[in-house]
């Protein structure tokens, strides 16, 4: 029998001998393809530092972001409010000027590009670049300036600043000095043609709106080869290392043809740049899936080169400016395949592409729409009825199966029944591109302001253009889910069910049913969420139906028929040191309380015992019990009887201080119901 030290050395040596060398480059490349195309998960508080969100009142600019609704407000007036059912896009007249414009009349052969964006003080800022400026000896130039609208059609820049990018002074070719000529530079917008004119000869148009690069019905077949024979030749040349063809071999070794995600974006980028002539483009999950798509359909949208997205000026993810109009993007669907050799060394080709119905970003809810929806909602909550009509529930509910009731907690009154008299909201994140979603913190106060209920909602536009208020049972915070409802800062407990609702319990965030696969099953659940070392996966309490003990030789015993039998099995197991059962009450039902500790030298049962999927869970030696971990067990004969007969409620309380105390409210909330 090897000593501990000898065995440890053997294990170390064996691991070192079997450890691999380097991580293959293609894995890193595949990883980076994914990270470059994915967003970091930034919660709303983190976003506060990145987007322009001021304290409550200023957040909505034109209207007060904190909407205070007195209890005495007349009900029913919301339907008369401006903004309800109003236009989906902000009615700020500046919007018509914002975005990217291109001069169609640059006489010296250069390209003049203008980016116009709104400023917080109600003005419009422009940046005009010219890659060939006559006044700069045909070197590039930049002109900047800030102005205001005169009426809805004239943008006047009082004092543009013109400079040559190489630092030289611009020299007017004729007439007064250049700065004087440019004074009160005025862009006049023709709404019908969506063009800007300056004087009689300078015309500015939106890039693709004026001249789309591709007909919406355009399509094509194979690229870059056009026949199977050519593909075979390309394969041979790629095999020989010809760089003109090796790029067709996926750098990451594989695609995900079963889905709609581009894993190797370089291949797609080459197609978009070389075949379609697109300079900027993006793949986004929001546009990736449509009805009728089949596996392997990959969609890209085109972005206006250097453009800004006037609807999403504050979202760094929203920098892809539409190319068709304010909302729509030229959109292409691409299919790829390996037509000759399959696998890592096979060359890929585009087998078909077509311009499809343009993808569309969603116009974020306007100030008026936001205020109207919330005002009605607040009035209903304070009035005591009808608030449900204003709210939808988020479709993605991770606890849909466990949730007993799908309703907004404390909708009309506090937990003690005190009605609300005042309300306010604060925009905490968004609008987020391209869905236009805004996250709100909604607060309701009692008359004496002693109680405040805070809830997290989202505002988003549905397919019909209606702005809807959405309650998310598990909203995301800066790094992790946050409580959907708090009362005076404390998370409000949520009711969950087990055994098809035969057993219910209530847990307050962060305690909630585990999402870990090994905790899930029809006959087991684990309540996790105890903060520990930045982690929230430790189970605080497990509930097991008809648990099957594990014997000293690690054999799985039949499930005892009642709690007393289970207690007896545990007490007679030499692997355990167990206290005598104590009669207690759980959920109004008699139960046995027993504390168990793994005995010194107890069996160490292999994890590969039947894992319980589809069968009863194993008790204790397959739960996270080990030496030093005391387990408090409550064994209950289920009053409803079969299909389950015995319930074991397990609290592992040597892991974390106070686990028993934490679990106590959950234990106290347990109720049994007729199956």
């Amino acid at each position: 029998m090897p000593t501990d030290e000898r065995l440890g050395e053997s294990i170390s040596t064996w691991l070192e001998q079997t450890a691999p060398g380097r991580l293959p480059d293609r894995v890193l490349e595949a990883t980076f393809e994914r990270t470059r195309g994915s967003r970091q998960q930034v919660g709303w508080r983190a976003r506060l530092g990145r987007i322009h969100v001021t304290q409550s009142v200023a957040a909505l600019g034109g209207i007060a972001a904190v909407v205070v609704v007195a209890a005495t407000l007349a009900l029913g007036s919301v339907a008369d409010r401006p903004g309800v059912g109003g236009p989906p896009i902000s009615d700020d007249p500046r919007d018509a000027f914002l975005g990217t414009w291109f001069s169609t009349s640059d006489a010296d052969g250069g390209t003049q590009t203008m980016i116009a964006r709104a400023t917080p003080d109600g003005g419009v800022e422009i940046v005009v670049t010219d890659d060939v400026a006559s006044v700069c000896s045909r070197t590039p130039s930049t002109m900047t300036g800030t102005g205001r609208l005169e009426g809805d059609t004239r943008l006047v820049i009082p004092a543009p600043v013109y400079s040559c990018d190489d630092g030289s002074e611009p020299d007017a070719l004729s007439g007064p000095p250049l700065q004087e000529q440019l004074r009160n530079l005025t862009f006049v917008r023709d709404a019908q043609a969506d063009v800007l004119t300056v004087g009689a000869t300078s015309v500015w148009t939106r890039e693709v709106g004026a001249a789309p690069s591709l007909d919406p019905q355009a399509w094509g077949s194979m690229w870059p080869q056009s026949s199977l024979e050519e593909v075979r030749r390309a394969q041979a040349l790629a095999d020989a290392g010809d760089p003109a063809y090796t790029w067709q071999v996926s750098r990451t070794g594989w695609y995900q043809p079963g889905q709609n995600h581009p894993i190797d974006t370089e291949f797609f980028a080459r197609f978009l740049e070389q075949k379609l002539g697109w300079e900027e483009f993006v793949w986004d999950e929001a546009f990736a899936h449509r009805d009728g798509f089949v596996a392997g359909d990959v969609v890209y949208v085109r972005c206006a080169p250097g453009g800004t997205n006037p609807l999403y000026l504050d979202d760094i993810e929203g920098r892809c400016a539409p190319t068709i109009d304010k909302l729509r993007y030229e959109t292409v669907k691409i299919n790829v395949a390996q037509l000759d050799r399959q696998g890592e060394a096979g060359v890929w080709v585009v087998t078909g592409w077509e311009m499809i119905e343009p993808a569309e970003q969603v116009a974020p809810p306007s100030d008026a729409e936001t205020a109207a929806v919330l005002e009605g909602f607040f009035q209903a909550r304070i009035g005591g009825e009808g608030a449900e009509d204003f709210v939808d529930f988020a479709e993605n509910d991770p606890f849909a199966d466990e949730r007993v009731v799908r309703e907004i907690p404390l909708l009309y009154a506090t937990s003690t029944g005190v009605p609300y008299e005042r309300s306010e909201f604060e925009i905490v994140a968004g609008p987020l591109w391209p869905e236009g979603r805004i996250q709100l913190a909604v607060r309701l106060f009692t008359g004496n302001n002693e109680t405040v209920v805070e809830q997290v909602f989202s505002l988003e536009r549905d397919e019909t253009g209606r702005v809807r208020l959405v309650y998310d049972f598990q909203p995301m915070g800066p790094s992790e889910p946050i409580p959907a409802t708090t009362e005076n800062g404390k998370a409000v407990p949520v009711e969950y069910g087990f055994l098809d609702g035969e057993v219910t319990y209530r847990a307050a965030h962060p305690l909630e049913p585990s999402q870990e696969a090994w905790h899930l099953g029809p006959d087991r659940t684990a309540i996790t969420g105890l903060p520990f070392n930045d982690d929230r996966i430790l189970p605080v309490l497990l509930i097991l139906a008809d648990p099957r003990p594990i014997g000293p030789s690690c054999e799985v015993a039949p499930a005892p028929v009642d709690a007393e039998g289970l207690a007896e099995v545990l007490r007679s197991d030499p692997d355990f040191e167990a206290t005598a059962p104590v009669a207690v009450t759980v959920g109004g039902t008699s139960a046995l309380q027993i504390d168990v500790l793994l005995a010194p030298g107890a069996s160490s049962c292999s994890w590969s015992l039947p894992d319980g999927s589809g069968t009863s869970p194993l008790l204790l030696k397959d739960t996270p019990i080990s030496e030093e971990q005391l387990v408090r067990l409550y064994l209950v004969d289920l009053p409803g009887g079969p299909p389950a007969r015995v319930l074991a409620i397990v609290i592992i309380h040597a892991d974390v201080d106070g686990a028993l105390e934490l679990a106590a409210p959950i234990l106290d909330s347990i109720e049994f119901h007729a199956p």
Partner: protein, 183 residues
């Protein structure tokens, strides 16, 4: 320097993240492959761990814990890979050793026994064994990496080693033919 890179990556700097990921890739891969004993699964686990790292970086409160946090992510990703396969034991197969490794018959047999013993461990037990005996972390460090109490790390390590010892002893008592089957 590294802290700067982590800070930059937290702010969305792809290049900074890629420097960090590249420098950590080999050791994460080694850990994943030793835990999972499968090349493809290990590659997937590392990729998943690094993608999660990128996505969740803004949530990392202490940049100095970046390395430990990466280990945790890769161990969790290994567990996910294992779960997808329902039963790890059915997927375990011995790694092909490098031909350059010379060894005598006895140690080869020993390696096979270790392989079998290791294959019987739970995912969390495999993780502590690899982190301790390969990466050289103490029980306290493993506890910090995995987010478990130090006592739990110690007991996992203890039981894991005992399980491997038991496998070695059991194999020693059995005819060779009977030990060919993996757990």
């Amino acid at each position: 320097m590294k802290r700067d890179l982590v800070e930059a990556a937290r702010r969305g700097d792809h290049e900074a993240f890629e420097v960090l990921a590249t420098s950590a890739g080999d050791r994460l891969y080694a850990v994943a492959r030793l835990i999972l004993r499968d090349v493809g699964l290990a590659e997937d686990a590392v990729q998943e761990a690094l993608v999660r790292a990128w996505q969740q970086l803004p949530s990392l409160r202490d940049p100095d814990r970046f390395d430990a946090w990466l280990y945790r992510l890769v161990v969790n990703a290994c567990a996910d890979q294992g779960r997808q396969l329902r039963r790890w034991s059915q997927q375990v197969r011995p790694l092909v050793l490098d031909v350059s490794i010379s060894d005598d018959t006895a140690s080869v047999a020993n390696r096979e026994q270790l392989e079998r013993g290791f294959s019987r461990l739970k995912p969390d037990q495999r993780a502590v064994v690899v982190l301790h005996y390969y990466s050289g972390f103490s029980a306290a460090e493993i506890a910090g990496i995995l987010g478990i109490p130090e006592g739990t790390a110690r007991s996992r390590l203890h039981y894991s080693v005992e399980a491997m010892r038991a496998a070695l002893e059991a194999d020693a008592r059995r005819p060779v033919a009977a030990t060919e089957r993996t757990a």
